[in-house]
């Protein structure tokens, strides 16, 4: 349904996307995960026809987003990471305005607005002014706005940011419902567990590149198998770092004074074995422990930015 092919985009000296390629199958809820600055928003804004790529191409259902903008806009519903609402408009007027902007026939609009407000759990807010709604309600209204023209694809950029737990749960429920309606949902977040519950598949991005893609269990399994370890030694930290780097399952070794951090792809027993090896080999270890990190950061660090196709899609 959505295809990115070797897409690159620069903003001055910043490389936002670097040969980014991704296939998103139709009818799935697909997560796009990565730290801030990974290129998620740029990828989504290109898909939403708001930016043109410097190189490569992007297509939605076979339509090129750069060359067939009108057709693509008819097929997508876009919710940016930050969005505002118009003052002095009622909720129903807000949706009717966007329905008209998407050329929905005027006769269909009243019933459409009613259905959409019910879908997003705002059935009694039709006469409320948009600017009087809570953030969670505005978020749901924005989701309803994305659906006024019945698009095949929904592009949701960090839709859960700034929401309280209850609003997040409501949003997830609506997204699940959209999946049942056979919509393709591309949803981004910088927190992997946030999307793990609702996504069928996901891709991890870092520095404008695709790091990994696959099903949620596969991605989370790889992420959880990687631990970041912190070791403090009495002396010879540099030598210790070189020693660690030579071991299997160890990546991303860094030295800061007498403290060494690295990623270890071993189970908990493997951690104990490593500590035993270090003591046995005569290193003066003062502290040895795991640092709690985000799963996606661990994944990115563990793969050293190399593309890792976890699943076969």
């Amino acid at each position: 349904m959505i295809k990115f092919r070797c897409v690159s985009k620069r903003f001055g000296a910043t490389r936002a996307l670097d040969q980014f390629s991704l296939d998103v199958p139709g009818g799935l809820v697909y997560g796009l995960i990565g730290p801030n600055g990974a290129g998620k928003t740029t990828a989504m804004s290109i898909l939403a026809t708001l930016q043109l790529p410097d190189a490569g191409n992007v297509a939605v259902d076979g339509r090129d987003v750069a060359g067939e903008q009108g057709e693509v806009r008819g097929m997508i519903g876009y919710m940016p990471d930050f969005f505002g609402v118009y003052d002095g408009l009622r909720t129903s007027e807000y949706l009717e305005f966007f329905a008209a902007a998407y050329h929905v026939p005027s006769g269909r609009r009243p019933s459409l607005v009613k259905d959409l407000l019910e879908l997003v759990n705002l059935p009694d807010k039709g006469d409320s002014y948009v600017d009087s709604l809570s953030r969670g309600m505005k978020q749901r209204l924005a989701l309803a706005r994305c659906l006024v023209h019945d698009p095949k694809v929904l592009i949701l950029d960090e839709p859960a940011s700034g929401l309280d737990p209850r609003a997040r749960a409501e949003l997830k429920e609506i997204i699940r419902h959209l999946k049942q309606l056979n919509k393709t949902v591309l949803i981004s977040s910088h927190i992997l567990p946030e999307l793990a519950e609702i996504c069928d598949e996901m891709a991890i991005m870092d520095r404008g590149r695709l790091v990994a893609c696959g099903t949620v269990p596969e991605i989370t399994a790889v992420s959880r198998s990687v631990k970041q370890i912190r070791v403090e030694v009495l002396d010879r930290a540099e030598e210790m770092a070189a020693y660690l780097a030579s071991l299997s399952g160890v990546k991303g070794v860094r030295v800061d004074g007498n403290v060494i951090t690295f990623y270890l792809s071993r189970e908990r027993a493997g951690q104990a074995e490593l500590l035993q090896e270090m003591i046995r080999d005569g290193w003066s270890v003062l502290e040895f422990g795991e640092i709690r990190r985000n799963l996606e950061e661990a994944f990115i660090a563990a793969t050293d930015g190399e593309v890792e196709k976890v699943a076969g899609n």
Partner: protein, 279 residues
Amino acid sequence: MQEINPVLLKELKQRFRTGKTSWLLALYLLAIGTFVLGFMYLNWRSSPGMYQPSRSRELFIVLSAAQLILLAFVTPGMTAGVISGERERQTLSVLLTTRLTPWQIIWSKLVSSSAFVVLLVISTLPLYSIVFIYGGVSPGQIMGLFGFYLVTMFLFGCIGVVCSSFFKRTGVSTVTAYGLAFALSAGTGFLAVFLEELERFQRSEVMTPGFVDGVIELLQNINPVFVMMRVFGERGIDTGINFGIPYWAVFTAFYLVAGFLMLAWSARLLSPGKRRSIK
């Protein structure tokens, strides 16, 4: 039946449903009305018990000039935030992903913002009727004046729109729009007078009009103050240049062409790849 552009409909709804609009209109009429009645009162005080009809024309000119100054302030101010305001409210990116073209968005923003200014001008018509009571001004001149206002408002509005599309912040856009409107309203007039003075120094005897005379003629044809005075039947600077079309046609053509070029540029600035910032 052709449906009204949704942006235009929304903007009109938002603008005209608030009490602020009525208050602004009332204040505008109060300011202009106080000005007119004050002028009449001062006339009456200078010769109590009688009103000199010959001063109607003077009143007409003063009223029109006051209205032109107000338009020069209100119009760019109304349009200088139409796009940058959307950007600041973070609603522009969503609007640009709809089926509306940048041109439709720009055009409807201009029309909806100008609609309020047009309403301000039309609502002052009853004040002009005071002038008619005592004569001195023809209906043709009134119509010419209102036509002049519309064309002037169009370009001033376009200046605001193009600044709003170019600059990210409404504050910068507004200041620049006022600067450009001032340059057009006063700068062209000062330049025309300055060039005329220079010419007069260098001109020893009667000569055929040259390039500088053509520039002076063009400047006074595009300067709103000069044009308004010519609508009242006053003579401008005598350059001896004739463009082959009346002064008002030069004025109208220049303002419309410049305005449409600005709108086209604004629409281009909103197109993907040309966009400065969508947020």
